[in-house]
């Protein structure tokens, strides 16, 4: 967010690539107007830029470009096993944006995409049609920002403004928007709606400094969460990913105590808790592109194609953490994988 604020003028993106087919959409027109002095490049298809071979993820991250594109089907995907479904069996996710303005060392997107440029899809009506269609058949839990941070991107493309009335009109839909952002503008300008959960990913400040480059501090995130709560929004706390090791274990107890001294546990909906985990394929790719990362030098245990801490270690740490967390919140309100 610091980077966003610092660069909130017309030069935020290194270049803006625009698909020919995206030119006439309102989002595109707004972006062109807002960033009129940027380097605008017309392209045929977003994959011609996004999927080029031999892109250097870290160099690009420091020179991030925006790609405006028209998404083709599918617009909604089944929720992955490595993510919490919070008890909902009809669990889906959608991506209006690919990639994120933040630069977290542990982020799986580095292994998932060949580029760190941001793709913003402009055909929001097509997303709405498909969401409407699936909710006409069943009640749906929809994660709307797994592959990005919509709130952090709000000042660039306010997707939540565009979807607000739509989400509100679908009683069969429960939407989760996950964020590390300190941007409070959405909570201040919109009334809370029953079927929207804002999920704040929080970590000890030491972890933020160590792994979550260019993200807001813990206090800034807590402040945003408190604003959301005070405006009546349903707020979820995500303690995910949790790291384990002699260098980080001691950070968690003071962090939990501090967190609940700042936020009344009765004011939050629930907690999502999860250890650092990653698909083996993504891990291997990231290992190559982040040769200076200690996190990706460590040994993890492999289970069903996912690398994480050994199960017995996870159990031990989780037990310790739950002892502290359950002083503040009932165990049935803590969801873990």
């Amino acid at each position: 967010m610091n980077r966003l604020l610092k660069n909130s003028n017309k030069y935020f993106f290194h270049s803006i690539y625009i698909e020919e087919g995206a030119l006439n959409y309102p989002i595109t027109k707004n972006i062109i107007e807002k960033y009129c002095n940027s380097n605008l490049i017309i392209i045929k298809h977003y994959k011609d830029v996004f999927n080029r071979t031999n892109q250097n993820f870290s160099v690009q991250k420091q020179n991030q470009s925006l790609i405006l594109a028209v998404k083709s089907k599918p617009f909604v995907y089944n929720g992955p096993d490595v993510c919490q479904n919070f008890g909902y069996s009809n669990f889906y996710y959608t991506s209006f944006l690919l990639n994120c303005i933040f630069d977290c060392e542990y982020c799986y997107l580095q292994g998932m995409y060949p580029s760190s440029n941001i793709v913003a899809f402009v055909n929001i009506e097509d997303f709405k049609s498909e969401i409407k269609y699936i909710t006409s058949k069943e009640s749906v839990f929809l994660a709307a920002s797994y592959d990005t941070d919509l709130i952090a991107f709000h000042n660039i493309v306010p997707y939540l403004d565009y979807f607000y009335d739509f989400f509100k009109s679908l009683p069969n839909l429960l939407v989760e928007v996950r964020t590390k952002s300190a941007n409070e503008s959405f909570y201040k300008t919109h009334k809370a709606i029953d079927n929207l959960i804002v999920a704040f990913t929080l970590s000890p400040d030491e972890i933020i400094k160590k792994y979550e480059r260019s993200t807001p501090s813990l206090d800034a995130r807590i402040k945003a969460a408190k604003t959301a709560i005070s405006m009546g929004f349903k707020v979820r706390i995500c303690l995910d990913p949790i790291f384990v090791g002699p260098d980080v274990d001691s950070f968690y107890e003071p962090f939990y105590n501090y967190l609940f001294s700042q936020i009344n546990p009765n004011d939050i909906l629930d907690i999502g808790y999860g250890f650092f985990r990653m698909s083996k394929d993504f891990f291997k790719r990231i290992e190559k592109i982040r040769p200076n990362s200690l996190l990706f030098c460590d040994d993890y245990s492999l289970k069903d194609g996912v690398l994480s801490y050994p199960s017995n270690l996870q159990e031990k740490i989780m037990k310790k953490h739950y002892e502290i967390l359950t002083k503040y919140i009932n165990e049935d309100k803590i969801f873990s994988l």
């Binding site: 270049s15 017309i42 392209i43 045929k44 071979t53 250097n56 870290s58 030098c297």
Partner: protein, 274 residues
């Protein structure tokens, strides 16, 4: 290493002079000029020739992804917004024969104009281009893009064009053209520096450690799997701020005659690295 491809000697000679490049007499297929940091090849005109020369250079000098490939040359334009001799950085290359587009990342030259370039297989004259749009034209860029994308990080393939004419590419004054290149050398030097910094910022080298691990594994008859594990531990140790080279050095004089002994020494090294 910085690899430069120019189509003509005319384009190359000011660069050869400025960077004090010496002709590599061992190479007969192409005219290659080099110093310790730069290798320049004169490709001849056209995208096939530029691709061949670029690949020849990248292969002969065993390029790494962090190396830089720059095409420096002239282009014509129908646009009056640029003056003759002006340097342009290219952010999109259109192949006029196939319709394929290429997108070089341009992370340098904040004050240098960025444009789309059309690459044609024959010279473009005023009467050939009927469209109303302002455009730049060259004959080599597609070949450079094709070659660069196979070998290097995308941001390391760079197309720099200098306006030579307004689609009247005949009987141009050779001395004036040389001056256009000469006048732009300060910008070219700055661009090379910017690209080098960009590559250095993303790189942490383990070359020395890798060499030491290879030597040690060879002398102690370690298997490939042991070598892989050892290198990982050495890397981790260096990232933690320790000095793994000293530890490896301590074991360099050890002798291992039987497999069991090798395993024991291996475990000792790993223990010390932690």
């Amino acid at each position: 290493m910085v690899f430069i491809v120019t189509a003509l000697m005319l384009e190359a000679s000011p660069l050869i002079e400025y960077f004090s490049l010496k002709k590599d007499m061992k190479i007969n297929n192409y005219q290659v000029y080099k110093n310790s940091d730069i290798a320049l090849v004169i490709s001849g005109v056209g995208k096939i020739k530029s691709a061949m020369a670029a690949i020849y250079l990248l292969s002969t000098f065993k390029s790494k992804k962090e190396d830089i490939l720059i095409n420096i040359g002239f282009c014509g334009t129908n646009s009056l917004k640029y003056a003759l001799g002006e340097l342009i950085a290219i952010n999109k290359v259109k192949d006029m024969d196939t319709g394929k587009d290429y997108y070089p990342d341009v992370y340098f030259g904040k004050n240098i104009p960025k444009e789309t370039l059309c690459c044609s297989s024959k010279p473009i004259f005023k009467e050939d281009y009927k469209e109303d749009k302002d455009m730049l034209f060259d004959m080599e860029s597609v070949g450079i893009m094709e070659a660069g994308q196979k070998f290097l990080y995308t941001h390391n393939t760079v197309i720099l064009k200098i306006i030579s004419d307004f689609l009247t590419p005949k009987d141009l004054d050779k001395e004036m053209l040389k001056d256009y290149i000469k006048n732009n050398i300060p910008y070219i030097v700055e661009i090379i520096d910017e690209l080098k910094n960009l590559n250095d910022s993303s790189k942490i080298s383990f070359e020395e450690e890798e060499r030491a691990v290879n030597l040690l594994c060879e002398s102690l008859n370690f298997t490939e799997a042991m070598k892989k594990m050892l290198f990982k531990e050495v890397k981790k140790s260096k990232l933690k701020g320790l000095e793994p080279l000293n530890i490896l050095n301590d074991f360099s004089c050890r002798e291992v005659k039987i497999k069991k002994e090798g395993k024991r020494v291996f475990e000792q090294i790993i223990e010390k690295l932690k």
